[in-house]
Symmetry: C2
Subunit: 406 residues, 2 copies
């Protein structure tokens, strides 16, 4: 007998039929003798509808009202799921964030969970009642208002609840059946990973494998919550996201990912003197423009250099306008922007103890005639920026080179 | 400077444009220096959608989950209305039932309000903030769950809030512009009443002029809340529902109403002995079938009599089945059911002090050749059951006879 948290996203609860499927899955775990807490998202499309209404109300300023409106989608699903369980003979009740409560700070729209009061929840779980918890939402006790955790926050709700309940596992049911060594739509030989470490999953999540919300992985890692990503549309086991210690034989590279959401900006002829980087990136940071990769060319004459960096495609125009407006102060000769790029990364905790991982990447790409524009590395990943047209070729070649093909 | 409660129904907040209109109306009152609390229903259609989902979830048994789901429609409207007010520069915040709280009993699905905690609300009203309250919902403190007040409960929310706040008036904005002397679709000369008493309004509401929910009128009468029924789609003043003392010159008859929702059942040849009425109506009451008018014919031979009564059209078949199943025990010869009837009523507190009101009704109908099947009277109304085909003729003739024509 174990204690489980099962989380179902919007597509898994998109209509009453799917909610019925969810109830049957939950019943199977309850029948197996497990104590089960279920976390549900809003029905697919509902949150977007509500967010649209709030936007069109002409005042996004008051995020407290945004939260009051947008949180209602999860309340509906939680109640309907509890009813579906009851109709299968499984004792169940719904819980809204304020009822538990899931206490958060007052950062409306992107609140952070501070603690979850589980005494009553645990008492009822012990009596065999399934707790159906509305995801994505919390309660700010100072003013007594509803908060939301930001987009994808239901994953965070589920992991936080699993941590608070000391659950054996947090199963995230989604529309993919696990975490793959690469995008299976591009790399047909991509394999589903049985296990992956938190660190690798974090890199995967932030690099474009949109499976789990980054914050939820951070939280799982911090609290040691074992997370399983699995499909709600079949019985196949998914991918376990766990601590490194749980993985006996660690591959050097676990996955090859890509992100098309990058744009490259190059400042030509920047004065090569102290403080120039701060002068460039300070204003971008103030404008909340996130800079990812940065490369400064070697100065040829000791006076002028080129500075290349990437931002998201959405921020490209804003970043360019901002820097062009300061051309005189910054003293660069020309700004060149290019959105025709993709970031390709190889990820693996094994590279901490293995040399030559980056070298193999550069060599593989070179053999295929793919030019590398920018390189950045961290302890467990190597990323390169290349021309977007080479995305598929690069992914497939690297997947083979690192021995990941099925 | 006064304190006002303004209530807007589902059609008045059916989309963002209409919510914008609501906000402009509220702003006008706030700009005039009034303290304003707004009560809103769910957007038209939303509650029906949610109720449908709950029904289709196959378990109506747990009304706590019904309430958790169905209450969400009002939360959305409350938040959107607060945002619309803010975008007009009016300070506003939304309040869900549990946040105030609106404390109710635990009769989920049709809870009764026990008290409303107004301290914080009044403090904020005093600071010029408009309170936008989600109607229809409350909070049951024992188990900490959401309750709803039953269909049309937002009227009750508004009146209860007006009573708790000691508001000068409770304006119910709806899709009609007031209470008329009769149904204007039938009686073209019907006039809008400037004022009407609580007692008359109660009779109007329960007799088919679907303007205000009966419970809300009872509550207004009990607490002396002055209610105004007015349209949300124009500037015309509406009808004030007030205490009799506020009406200086009271007409003998204030309105002529009708209800098509009646069906007549006659038991022929019932034994004329003590206890027979109890034997007939006891089982109907147990089956929650509401009996309205009852007439027992004079027994001709002292042994057998006929018993005629009305139920709603929806209950007709069930009532007939139930009684036919007990034919032997009850000893009647035959059951005749007829849904081809309408109940027409004249209503007016003035008839307490005026004789001849009923006589004028009978005479007017007789002159038009309309046969009266059943008669029932109360202190302030006379109702007759007639053949449905005569509805329009009866209404128009009576409207003229009582001097109500414009």
């Amino acid at each position: 007998m174990a204690r489980l948290v099962m989380k179902f996203g919007g597509t898994s609860v998109a209509d009453l039929e799917r909610i019925g499927n969810v109830a049957r899955r939950v019943k199977a775990e309850a029948d197996a003798g497990h104590q089960v807490a279920v976390v549900v998202s809003a029905m697919a499309g509902e949150t977007n509808k509500l967010v649209g209404w709030v936007r069109d109300s002409g005042a996004l300023a008051d995020l407290r009202e945004y939260d009051a409106v947008v949180s209602s989608g999860e309340n509906v699903t939680a109640g309907l799921t509890a009813l579906a369980l009851q109709s299968l003979g499984v004792p169940a009740r719904s819980w809204q964030g304020w009822q538990i409560p899931v206490v958060t700070d007052a950062a409306h729209g992107s609140a952070r969970i501070q603690r979850i009061e589980t005494t009553e929840l645990e008492r009822r779980l012990g009596e065999g009642q399934v707790a159906v918890v509305a995801g994505f939402q919390g309660f700010e006790p100072e003013r007594g208002r509803i908060t939301t955790l930001g987009r994808g926050g239901s994953d965070t709700s589920a992991v936080a609840l699993a941590a608070a309940l000391g659950a054996e596992r947090c199963d995230i049911y989604t529309d993919v059946d696990g975490v793959y060594t690469s995008d299976p739509r591009i790399v047909t030989r991509a394999q589903k990973l049985e296990k992956i470490t938190y660190e690798e999953m974090l890199e995967m999540a932030s690099l474009g494998a949109k499976v789990l919300q980054t914050r939820s992985v951070e939280m799982a890692m911090k609290h040691g919550v074992r997370v399983q990503v699995r499909t709600s549309f079949g019985e196949a086991p998914g991918t376990l996201v766990v601590d490194e210690d749980e993985i006996v034989e660690q591959a050097v590279v676990s996955g090859v990912t890509y992100s098309r959401d990058e744009a490259k900006i190059t400042l030509i002829g920047v004065p090569d003197k102290p403080g120039v980087a701060a002068a460039i990136f300070g204003p971008l940071a103030e404008a909340a423009i996130n800079v990812d990769m940065i490369v400064q060319s070697v100065s040829e004459d000791g006076e002028r250099t080129d500075m290349t960096f990437t931002v998201t495609k959405a921020d490209q125009a804003r970043a360019a306008d901002l820097l062009n407006g300061r051309q005189d102060a910054l003293g660069f000769a020309e700004l060149r922007a290019n959105a025709d790029v993709v970031k390709v990364s190889v990820i693996g905790v094994g590279m901490r103890s293995h040399a030559g991982v980056a070298q193999k990447m550069f060599q593989t790409l070179a053999e295929k005639g793919i030019n590398i524009q920018v390189i950045s590395t961290s302890e467990i990943k190597v990323s390169v920026l290349i021309e977007e047209a080479y995305t598929e070729l690069a992914l497939r070649s690297l997947h083979t080179a690192y021995g990941l093909d099925a």
